[in-house]
């Protein structure tokens, strides 16, 4: 199915329901259909619609205008520097370009741009009724991978992938008219797109935060009577920090989902404590899989926090179970599936799994996509993510996942964040070094942290050194920039490899 059909469904099912809040008041499903159809007539029928900017309350009008016109929507990270931004936009020389007010001068110096607010204000009021596009093998959305390990790649999501995700996971009209979702993730992130599509499919009103700020987020949840929200882990941590131990005053909030990067179990426990009665959901997915492919649900969270069942507690650190419409396989380095409990590379397959870049599909002959994440399944089919395969440390021939050591470091009450990397080492191939950020006011010696990890993990997984930092580098959507930490620790150079008796 095509996203133009999704718009048809929204128009039909929610014709009178307020789904967005525009400058002139509520926008119903019927209004959205009319605005998007009008918008479609202003777009070039080839090339695409690039958007450079923050979130906007009427962003869905632009997205569905592109769908109605039969061209891909291409949101670009407005935080990139000029050279990177222009490089990405110029991959689509025939595309129309919309920007927000702030990004217009930067992009406008190089390409013709229209400011989103001006474009919206000038939309034709009655659009000619043309044949709606229905080729669901066409590209619907182009997203750029975050480029933490290499140059950003153009990931292609076709209409059939996005619609499969919706049809397989969301109930059409499942939301009651009083429900509202808060979108805090930026438009260029797959979760920002998925947030929009799935809430509109459910019939849930969308409220946009133009850009994330923890106090603004809390205020908006309260003032807009938000029932559902999705955040990336760094946002959740900042919200918890902003609460400073107080219980969140958000009486309408029912569901809070988080995903997009790793989060420490302690951060989840802190959040659950400050949002009593709220259903927590951990979602695991990738750009290339059209969003969520595994979910740790509210009951899993409750069991982990309330019971003393060791399996339930351990699973709070998992990504939950794979969606029913997606298959998962863990394979070893030569591609052979491994049994439960054994770590390997995570492969997935399913209708929503796109696995394709502008340079071509990376699905294998049987349709499997290598996530390039390492992980393992437990006996109950819970998926544990160890991290990117590229980040795996190989010390003395042993594969070591940074995530496990980071979790051990973060279990120390004085540690707020940790990043563990493999620094080139003549003797071991790689040695384990950690950079940690302490909780405000905490004073902990690096040696104490080394001892703390040694008390939890075996000696070969104990960091050779730990350095204390004021902050760790992240992308704006919460992905830890490990390469930068590795670079800094390698450049320190002076840190001698601690000779250990293993």
């Amino acid at each position: 199915m095509h996203l133009a059909s999704l718009l048809d469904m929204v128009e039909s099912g929610f014709s009178d329901r307020a789904l967005l809040e525009g400058p002139d008041g509520p926008v119903t499903g019927a209004d959205l259909g009319r605005l998007a159809s009008g918008g479609a007539t202003t777009l070039s029928p080839t090339g695409g619609l690039v958007y450079v900017g923050e979130n906007h309350p009427l962003l869905p009008v632009a997205v569905f205008a592109a769908a109605r016109a039969g061209v891909p929507f291409i949101p670009v990270n407005y935080r990139l520097d000029d050279a990177q931004l222009i490089e990405l936009i110029d991959r689509y020389p025939d595309a129309d370009v919309l920007t927000d007010e702030a990004s217009a001068p930067r992009v406008g110096a190089h390409r013709d741009v229209r400011v989103l607010d001006d474009w919206l204000a000038a939309l034709p009021s009655s659009a000619p009724i043309g044949e709606a596009p229905d080729d669901d093998t066409a590209v619907a959305v182009v997203l750029f991978t975050s480029g933490t390990t290499s140059a950003p790649k153009s990931a292609l999501l076709r209409h059939r992938h996005l619609m499969a995700y919706l049809l397989n996971t969301v109930t059409f009209g499942g939301a009651s008219p009083d429900e509202a979702a808060l979108v805090a993730v930026p438009p260029y992130h797959v979760a920002g797109m998925a947030n929009m599509f799935s809430n509109l499919f459910a019939g849930r009103r969308l409220v946009y935060l133009r850009r994330f700020d923890p106090d603004e987020w809390l205020r908006t949840v309260r003032d807009e009577r938000i029932t559902n929200a999705m955040v990336v882990p760094t946002m959740l941590v900042r919200i918890v920090d902003a609460l400073a131990g107080r219980t969140a005053d958000v009486p309408t909030l029912r569901s809070l989902s988080y995903g997009g990067a790793r989060i420490s179990e302690r951060a989840v426990r802190d959040a659950v404590r400050l949002f009593p009665g709220v259903d927590f959901v951990n979602a695991y997915g990738l750009t290339e899989t059209a969003s969520t492919i595994a979910v740790l649900g509210p009951d899993d969270h409750r069991r982990a926090i309330e019971s003393d069942d060791p399996d339930a507690i351990r699973r709070l650190g998992s990504a939950g179970r794979i969606l029913p419409a997606v298959e998962v396989e863990i394979r070893d380095d030569v591609g052979t599936p491994v049994p439960p409990g054994v770590p390997g590379l995570i492969y997935v397959r399913g209708e929503q799994v796109a696995g394709e870049y502008a340079t071509g599909s990376v699905l294998d002959a049987d349709g499997w996509f290598s996530t390039r994440d390492r992980g393992w399944l437990d006996e109950g089919d819970y998926l544990f993510i160890e991290g990117r395969a590229d980040d795996t440390i190989i010390r003395g021939g042993e594969n070591i996942a940074p995530a496990e050591i980071e979790e051990a470091l973060c279990s120390h009450p004085g540690v707020k964040e940790a990043c563990v990397v493999g620094v080139p080492d003549d003797e071991w191939g790689q040695r384990i070094e950690a950079a940690v950020v302490l909780e405000p006011g905490a004073s902990v010696a690096p040696e104490e942290l080394v001892d703390h990890v040694r008390g939890r993990l075996r000696r070969s997984k104990t960091p050779d050194s730990v350095v204390i930092r004021d902050a760790l580098p992240y992308t704006p959507t919460g992905k830890l920039l490990r390469r930068q930490v590795l670079q800094e620790l390698s450049d320190d150079g002076g840190t001698p490899s601690t000779k250990r008796e293993d």
């Binding site: 059909s5 969301v170 259903d279």
Partner: protein, 104 residues
Amino acid sequence: MTMQLKPGTRLYSAVCETELMTIRAPADPIAVTIGGVDPVLDAGERPGAGEVVEGHGGGSAMGKRYVDDAGTLELLCTKAGEGAPAVDGVLLGTKDAKALPASD
């Protein structure tokens, strides 16, 4: 009357409020009815008169997926009405999508 459906084809009941979206369709034309009467393909073609045929009044429910036994047809109800969807005079069954926690 038979009609050729494809994913994305919208069906409007001629005798009630029901609106359906085609999710999955067989390769060949089929005789689909809503409320026992042929649907129309455009909201503007609704006759504005007529009644639900006896035996076809079970109604349609928003968000429900209506499927045939062969599994080749799937119609999603986007607007509820008094008439029930059928193919060759046989009422369609419903498929229950598994409820998942909202992850976004």
